[in-house]
């Protein structure tokens, strides 16, 4: 069945949330300003009006409180979907996420499950003031018990948010906020199992080097591939989609083919997702590598003021610069 329409990524998320609320009466949305306002990015626009204040719950302004009450609701059999208003606001909830949400299934010997989805608009590029542009995914990807995913396009946004909500494990769902308004085709009738949540996706096939990106950087990576193609270089672009677990098989197949890997993300490269991928690629296909794995990401600095963010965020030129270094190796 096909019901394809063109939607911006934010609207695709809204449609996915609506579908999840329709499909399962135990699904609840909770967060700050998500009701009448529809969230500061309007991702929950209209949902409280249609599903009621008992399904779409405006909470007091306290992130630990949101996650802590979500734990209790999950124990009661609900599937809470918590909105954290901005990436930089998640830290007050850090303890509840890593000590409780992530560990309760293990701590209770499997008796308690935590089917909680934590939606986090993340990343920079929107000219925001401080604490509104961060990429904290690495903290959570290192925590056992959590699943961490991020979408890069409207079709995945619609599919992956439904899959995250249906998961019996807690899922950190990172939303590329600067891509909320980018449009793409979405099949609203896509079956929930039409593509695995934790599988990477080859966006463009290529032969000369692999470019791995996720979330907001996928669009940038695709542009870099176009520029490279004009220069006669065939880049294979992979959208990682899942940060925990990592789909190493897709990455490994690509690297075995191309012999070169560049990983890009907005988060600082030190101890980031790219570092883990580089280590694992080295373990798995060392003898297929023609050059060291290179990372293009944030510097080891706090997120800078908006007027400097264009220098902080990886862009097409920095990716192409890394590509040159890879070929020079």
């Amino acid at each position: 069945m096909n019901n394809t329409t063109t939607l911006p990524l934010g609207k695709a998320l809204n449609a996915g949330l609506r579908r999840a609320l329709e499909d399962d009466s135990k699904v609840l949305l909770m967060g700050e300003d998500i009701g009448k306002l529809g969230g500061v990015f309007r991702i929950t626009d209209g949902l409280q009006k249609d599903f009621g204040e008992h399904r779409v719950i405006d909470t007091p302004l306290a992130e630990s409180g949101i996650l802590g009450t979500a734990v209790g609701l999950a124990m009661r059999g609900y599937r809470p979907v918590c909105e954290i208003q901005f990436d930089g606001f998640i830290y007050p909830a850090f303890d509840q996420i890593v000590s409780q949400v992530a560990k309760l299934h293990y701590r209770t010997g499997g008796n308690v499950t935590m089917p909680i989805t934590i939606r986090v608009p993340y990343g920079g590029g929107i000219g925001a003031i401080e604490h509104h542009s961060e990429s904290p995914e690495g903290y959570f990807a290192q925590t056992a018990g959590l699943r961490v995913v991020t979408c890069s396009n409207p079709a995945d946004a619609h599919l992956m948010i439904r899959q995250a909500i249906a998961s019996d494990d807690p899922v950190l769902f990172f939303e590329p906020k600067r891509r909320y308004w980018e449009k793409g085709d979405v099949n609203l009738a896509a079956p929930i199992d039409s593509y695995p949540l934790h599988k990477a996706r080859v966006m463009v096939s290529g032969t000369d080097a692999t470019l791995l990106a996720y979330g907001p950087m996928v669009t940038t990576a695709l542009r870099a591939a176009e520029v490279a193609a004009d220069e006669g270089i065939s880049l294979e672009v992979i959208d990682l989609r899942s940060l925990s677990p990592l789909d190493m098989n897709t990455i490994e197949s690509s690297v075995r083919k191309t012999g070169r890997l560049i990983v890009t993300h907005e988060a600082p490269v030190f101890l980031g997702i790219g570092a883990e991928i580089a280590a694992r690629v080295t373990e798995r296909c060392f003898y297929h590598l023609e050059a060291p794995v290179l990372r293009v990401g944030g510097f080891t600095i706090p997120y800078p003021p908006a007027k400097l963010e264009e220098h902080f965020l990886p862009d097409v030129d920095r990716i192409l610069d890394a590509l040159d270094r890879s070929f020079a190796a």
Partner: protein, 362 residues
């Protein structure tokens, strides 16, 4: 509501005399001689479980134990006010509550022995296992209570925390969320005067019961060493919550007669005279005195109670010594509800690593 916070509500004083209270006495009018004897038996057994566990820790069988000595009445009195469907979100010292909820004391010990993170199934006993992160459980309780309200349930939740926890943000957030959502939850603070070495005066400049007012919640300050007053206060508060009137706070004023845990040394920070002062308010002694006064203490009754305590302690010791420790490969169990490739990969690798030692002396 009950706003006299200076004098905690008391129904049985330290001399074992019944004290009449205009509102609360009738809430325990059903506690006849027989039921009072049962409460006494609970208090004695719980104290015995606690002392046996402390002994097992001293003998190296447990890594740690958090004694409840002195808090028996606060725990038994509140737990005996609960209906089967009510749900308990505990801190880590509520062995007496767990006992009343039907948890086998051996199951409690497995956590402190280091054999498991969770000695029992929280959903089966309707009581959570120890919450070490101080105050975190009050938010879980609030969420669970909100779920009960959404379900139209006629039950309520009780959560336990200590005086130290009131300084935690999660406790304030729980108060705020519970009040805003009018969640059916009773916030039960055992103010045992000490957060390890820190006196309650370092945590708060007003009584803990008074804090509720700022959140728009009624509260009760009760003598936590008086099992009848705690029973009455908890019955009142749970009914309040069940009937849709929102949350309530109970401050049970008690005293941690022992150390914070078996690793602690209270002689470094609190005067022995204070301990002596509180010994006069012992929660068991006053019930004993009262029963004596009423002619309800006789050899047969004392033998029955002591036999029950002895048997429970013996079962506890045997259960502890017979613990079957978890096998190495259980390390990887229940990290996720669904398969996770990295955990599966590491499980497989570790299994092969262990297999390499088969037949060797390792």
């Amino acid at each position: 509501m009950i706003e006299n916070h200076d004098h905690p509500i008391q129904l049985l004083n330290a001399e074992g005399e019944r004290v009449h209270h205009a509102m609360f006495s009738e809430l325990v009018a059903d506690i006849d001689d027989r039921r009072l004897q049962d409460l006494y038996e609970d208090l004695v057994v719980v104290r015995r479980v606690d002392s046996e566990a402390t002994a097992l820790q001293r003998q190296g069988e447990l890594g740690l134990w958090a004694p409840l000595l002195g808090q028996e009445a606060a725990q038994v009195g509140s737990a005996r006010a609960l209906a089967d469907d009510d749900f308990v979100f505990a801190s880590y010292r509520e062995h007496g509550v767990a006992y009343c909820k039907g948890v086998d004391p051996t199951q409690m010990l497995r956590f402190w022995r280091g054999s498991t993170h969770s000695g029992w199934n929280p959903l089966e006993y309707r009581m959570t296992t120890p919450a070490i992160i101080v105050g975190s459980q009050a938010l879980h309780a609030t969420g669970y209570a909100l779920g009960m309200k959404l379900d139209g349930s006629a039950s309520a939740v009780i959560t336990y925390f200590g005086d130290g926890a009131v300084s935690q943000g999660d406790i304030s957030e729980a108060f705020g969320f519970a009040a805003s959502f009018q969640a059916p939850v009773v916030l039960f603070c055992q103010n045992n005067q000490w957060a390890i070495s820190e006196p309650v005066s370092l945590q708060t400049q007003v009584s803990i019961a008074q804090r509720a007012r700022g959140f728009g919640m009624p509260s009760i300050r009760v003598d936590g060493n008086d099992v009848l007053a705690v029973l009455a206060a908890t019955r009142h508060s749970m009914t309040h919550a069940r009937e849709g009137n929102g949350p309530m706070l109970i401050e049970a004023v008690t005293y941690r007669m022992g150390p914070h845990t078996t690793s602690d040394d209270p002689s470094r920070y609190r005067p022995a005279e204070l301990d002596d002062e509180w010994k006069l308010k012992d929660p068991l002694d006053r019930v004993h005195k009262h029963l004596e006064r009423e002619g309800l203490i006789n050899d047969e009754f004392l033998a029955r109670v002591s036999d029950r305590a002895d048997r429970t302690a013996a079962d506890l010791r045997r259960g502890c010594l017979e613990t079957v420790e978890p096998a190495p490969m259980t390390l990887f169990d229940n990290v996720y509800a669904d398969e996770h490739p990295l955990v599966s990969e590491e499980r497989e690798q570790f299994s092969q690593y262990l297999a390499g030692f088969e037949g060797s002396a390792r």
